[in-house]
């Protein structure tokens, strides 16, 4: 039982970040079942309860919301919410775990991978998950009759952009932590309020004009607005560009900070 160590053979020639992406995909292939069920269950439960149940009351009292049934109004917003939730979930415990407890990332940078490759691979992987989730959601809300325009084909991309706007900044933050105690606070005081107040369940016009700027500070608001524009094929070009720029800036700034923090954390 001796070991013959031969010379290294030529592989597929993948760039290093793609090898990190592969690792996440291979891991997911072993553990995907639970997440797929919730990916289908959450939108169906919400659309049935809020869309059909609450919607019945709303429609009876006000007729329509901005010319749409209540279900049609909230369905695209739920896609943005799901993207946010997938994003923040992936960027908190799994990231801290990989640098603190399981030390997956430490193992990765002992190979040819650099800390920046680890970040890029992870972000690319969550991007793919967001796209898949976006496709599932778009299909479900289309079945519920909430996609009224061909622009709805862009909904998966809205999911990717909205989700990543949470992934990269939160990842940068998680990489600086020693314990997970602040995650619960983030969830309670950032994620849940955004879920409730980002014009998710009623139009932003419900708020007094002096308070609307607070809503516009919330990243989720811009994701919700884009999802609606896509599902209904409505919205002004300038406003759409603004939403994309806000979310895109968050992704880029978060990415730069994540790469810096990953290097500090793993190789200093």
């Amino acid at each position: 039982m001796s070991l013959t160590l031969t010379t290294t053979e030529q592989g597929p020639g993948w760039p290093r970040w793609r090898r990190a992406l592969y690792y996440h995909a291979a891991f997911y292939r072993q553990t995907w079942r639970a997440s797929v069920i919730s990916a289908f269950l959450f939108p169906i439960l919400y659309l049935t309860s809020m869309g059909l149940g609450v919607g019945k009351l709303v429609n009876a009292h006000t007729g329509t919301v901005a010319g749409l049934s209540y279900l049609q109004f909230i369905a695209p917003a739920l896609l943005a919410v799901a993207a946010m939730q997938l994003g923040e979930n992936e960027a908190m415990w799994p990231v801290l775990g990989a640098v603190k407890w399981v030390r997956t990332y430490h193992a990765a940078v002992a190979t040819p991978l650099e800390p920046e490759d680890v970040v890029t691979g992870k972000v690319a992987w969550v991007g793919i998950r967001l796209f898949m989730t976006g496709v599932v959601y778009a299909a479900i809300i289309a079945v519920f009759g909430a996609v009224v325009s061909w622009w709805g084909i862009l909904l998966p991309l809205v999911a990717v952009l909205t989700g990543l706007a949470f992934v990269t900044p939160l990842m940068a933050y998680s990489l600086t932590l020693e314990s997970d105690t602040s995650f619960t606070m983030i969830y309670r005081f950032l994620i849940v309020p955004m879920f409730l107040f980002s014009a998710t369940f009623y139009p932003v016009s419900v708020y007094p004009p002096q308070l609307r700027w607070i809503v516009e500070l919330m990243p989720l608001y811009h994701g919700v607005a884009l999802a609606r524009a896509s599902a209904y094929g409505t919205g002004q070009l300038l406003a759409i560009v603004f939403h994309v720029v806000v979310l895109g800036s968050l992704v880029v700034v978060g990415l730069v900070l994540s790469r810096r923090n990953m290097r500090r954390r793993l190789v200093s």
Partner: protein
């Protein structure tokens, strides 16, 4: 690579964390095919040194070359030829033993087929073939350690770096692991090992450096270090609790050197049995007496005035 170039060459290597100098200007060379050790207590700077030699963390100052390359420039290239066994296992506990290997192999851009072949071969080497499909979490500590070593060999490294490879393992698991490391050494892999166990250093290392407080305090083959810094034998005497100090004066003339530890007195002598006879002849009656060969522990005690494991 020419034969004369050492595999690893470090000059005046420094690594600080804030105001703390973990590695304080050390020089060493590791030659191809040898098994090189860093012996020292926890906090001596061994792990910080290993992280630099693994081309993971960058030295604050000094020169470091690995395979003749500069890790600041060629980090990925160097790491492609190195295997690392970290102090704490970094396995995916929810996944199977085999999946742990298959997934990790992709980091090195190896063809899938090659990874599978090597995984089979390495599981055999690590004596884990029957556990290939089991969840990693179900393995014993020694098995996890062997899997970590198998994983570190997937890229067929020229240099294998092991940080405290047997810490926390029971004696049987340690011996099994040492046997695997001998085999690796014989297949031509250069080993760099850190340990705070003097028996491990004596068993595994052709040559070692003794580290203390970020500095190298001695360097050489284990036997030579013992010859240079200690006597052939040691007589360990235990007296009643708190009595040791009062016998120091009477014992001093009987030994080359004396170490008074909290629980015992060590007499450094050429002939332990003769020394014990002399102790009895002087009318002293220790509670217990033990004659043994000098070890690296004695070298460390001599050089630093402290014990390795506290």
């Amino acid at each position: 690579m020419s034969e004369v170039t050492p595999l690893v060459r470090a000059r005046r290597l420094v690594k600080s964390f804030g105001s703390f100098r973990a590695v304080d200007g050390i020089d060493f060379e590791v030659d191809r095919g040898e098994s090189f050790g860093f012996l020292g207590p926890n906090g001596a700077g061994k792990t910080s040194t290993m992280r630099m030699v693994s081309a993971v963390s960058r030295p604050d100052s000094g020169d470091l070359s690995i395979f003749g390359l500069d890790p600041r420039v060629d980090g990925p290239k160097i790491r492609a030829r190195i295997g690392v066994v970290p102090q704490e296992d970094t396995l995916e506990l929810e996944l199977s033993v085999m999946d742990n290997l298959l997934m990790f192999g992709r980091y090195f851009d190896l063809p899938k087929k090659t990874i599978r072949e090597r995984a089979d071969e390495l599981l055999d080497f690590a004596q884990l073939t029957e556990r290939a499909k089991d969840k990693c979490d179900d393995l014993s500590g020694g098995m996890k350690r062997r899997l970590t070593i198998a994983r570190s060999l997937l890229n067929h490294p020229e240099l294998l770096i092991l940080d405290e490879p047997t810490t926390g393992l029971d004696p049987q698991a340690r011996h099994l692991l040492w046997d695997r490391l001998y085999r690796l050494k014989h297949s031509g892999v250069t080993l760099v090992i850190t340990t705070h166990y003097m028996d491990e250093a004596e068993q595994l290392c052709d040559r070692l450096v003794v580290m203390d407080k970020g500095l190298i305090v001695a360097e050489g083959p284990p036997r030579r270090l013992i010859e240079e810094h200690s006597t052939r034998e040691v007589l360990e005497l235990r007296f009643g609790i708190g009595e040791s100090a009062q016998f120091e004066g009477a014992l001093a003339p009987l030994a080359d050197r004396l170490e008074v530890l909290p629980d015992r007195i060590l007499l450094y002598v050429h002939d332990g049995d003769a020394a014990l006879a002399a102790v009895h002849g002087a009318g002293l009656t220790p509670v217990s007496a033990l004659v043994r060969r000098s070890t690296l522990e004695d070298v460390f005690l001599r050089l630093t005035g402290r014990t390795l494991v506290d």
